[in-house]
Symmetry: C2
């Protein structure tokens, strides 16, 4: 399981700048993010102790808070000085967390962010129900914000998210899934929430539609890039860094872009191998290594990252209309981080 | 399994009026209800075929549409002549349906309303995700209504509902659950949605707070009565009429009021029996008959219905401030129906 494929072999290795990180954006929004965390803790409360325990477990388990940070950063870039972005960022994190809880039930996952998943600790039932609770809390937070436009965006985002999850279930184990179909899945299940998170920054600042759209497109493309890198990391990262088991997607027969590319580029033997291991779920202990070799042979991981870079580039350009400054730099660095991250 | 306990033995069997039904209310709101069904079918649509299939299965599977009928009936009683009640009634049904899908996953149920459950046909994963989708659709419908007051009520209702479901999970298999704790569970998981459904009727009609509150209390008490009768029926109904397997609650170790009463009134042997069968889940084929005998001995079913009648009476009185008329009569008959129904 410790196999490491060099993900950045396609890059120019002559220049070696410091690794991009989300630290700059984090530093910029650190006070707001502290407030977001307070809102999360406050709104997580329930007279039902198990809800707080289970929600607390997943919320406190060291996520990057990337999505709420995007809302905060976007609002800052738009010159917003009010407080609405704080509760809306919390709202985005609640929607995300609810999705994670239901995801882990659907995928039957044991590990998330280096910790045991809620469903593995408390079983599936409370995970489903606490997910519903967190989703309702997100609903409440957005109602408290009071803007019908914001409510409309969040309600639509939630519906698309759920559609994306169901689409993913349908493409799961289907090795003939096309790249286009796969992109549709990750756009719905991952990128739409990134897009909403960013767009909210322009909305609270009451910026013109063109900036709202720019931030939405920034988030959408960033989200796709983020997911593609995630897919590659599931085959290539060092287990301890990733915080989840490498090879999970393979073991679950989850069709991601590296698999789609391997299937389309592979010969009859390769396709038979993918059908056996991923569609029929018949795997031997040697199969994961063989999968990595297959992907290496067809540049499936390297090209998944190339695709990610494409979406990253589009995301960067979407921010072009905003004046330069620390918030814009911070957001751009998030793109670089998402693409070059090893975890 | 065909054991039938006479539920109405406590009643005066001399007078035998025609059985109360929801037909009068149904006739009164039949046009509106047809529109509600159109909205439901329209908003159930999704490019993802499985969502429509699965949602269609549960939505079309012959539910009584009791909750949306309450919204429509309440609006009518309040003299409302607009159209908002239609989409809000659909919204209530979507929330209810989402809950049913998640409920069946949590309970691992095979039968619902005489049909196979979605989770037994399609497995748990899509049931969880399509539940999320329907909940998001409810969220969208309420946003389209555009009233922050309505949104606030529905968001809070959803959160309380989820809390109630988690509470039920915690009391499940706990034979020491008190009557008060059990009432808290069913108030949250069942009655709150009835209360919101009724209250919305007064809100769209812009009636004064006192009428809003009256309808809320009507719904709340009706919902409690409804759930208590449901609990009794799970031990006493004729299987074919109930549309779900009699004895499900017993087999699942689900603690309901008949069990609470049996445990509190029973001797050491009875308590040991309840602990073995419901807490530890060790059941022999003869145990269900023994359970029925235990409940008969302690009037557990008859007294559960007595409690239901109490809440029904409170519900009826809550409507006292409204002028007499067909809508009020229809709503009052729903109370009678809920208490005297055999299914």
């Amino acid at each position: 399981m410790g196999t490491v494929v060099r993900l950045n072999k396609g890059k120019d290795s002559a220049k070696a700048p410091p690794s991009p990180s989300i630290d700059a954006l984090h530093a910029l929004v650190t006070d707001d993010l502290r407030e977001v965390n307070s809102v999360i803790l406050e709104r997580m409360k329930s007279p039902v102790a198990l809800i707080q325990q289970l929600a607390g477990h997943i919320i406190a388990s060291g996520g990057k808070r990337l999505r709420p940070m995007l809302t905060l950063g976007a609002a800052k870039m738009c010159g917003y000085t009010g407080r609405r972005h704080v509760s809306l960022a919390a709202c985005i994190e609640f929607i995300h967390t609810a999705t994670l809880l239901h995801d882990d039930v659907v995928d039957d996952s044991d590990m998330r962010r280096g910790n045991a998943t809620a469903n593995s600790l408390w079983d599936n039932e409370p995970s489903v129900l606490v997910g519903d609770f967190l989703f309702s809390r997100a609903f409440q937070l957005s109602v408290a914000d009071g803007s019908l436009k914001v409510l409309d965006i969040l309600a639509t985002t939630s519906a698309v998210l759920a559609e994306g999850e169901v689409m993913q279930l349908l493409t799961s184990k289907d090795t003939t899934t096309s790249e286009a179909a796969y992109l549709e899945v990750i756009t719905a299940k991952t990128a739409t929430l990134f897009a909403a998170a960013c767009r909210l920054g322009a909305i609270v600042a009451e910026r013109p539609a063109v900036e709202e759209e720019a931030l939405e497109n920034f988030g959408l493309n960033l989200g796709i890039a983020y997911q593609l890198v995630d897919d590659a990391l599931d085959y290539a990262a060092v287990e301890a860094t990733l915080g989840k088991s490498v090879g999970d997607d393979f073991r679950e027969g989850k069709i991601t872009l590296p698999v789609v590319l391997s299937f389309r580029r592979g010969d009859a033997d390769a396709r038979a191998f993918l059908r056996r291991t991923m569609e029929e779920g018949e795997q031997t202990p040697e199969d994961f290594a063989q999968m990595l070799a297959l992907m290496e042979r067809h540049d499936a991981l390297a090209d998944t990252l190339k695709r990610a870079r494409h979406y990253g580039a589009v995301a960067r350009d979407a921010l072009g209309i905003f004046p330069d400054g620390p918030a814009k730099s911070g957001l751009v660095e998030v793109v670089d981080f998402c693409i070059e991250r090893s975890h």
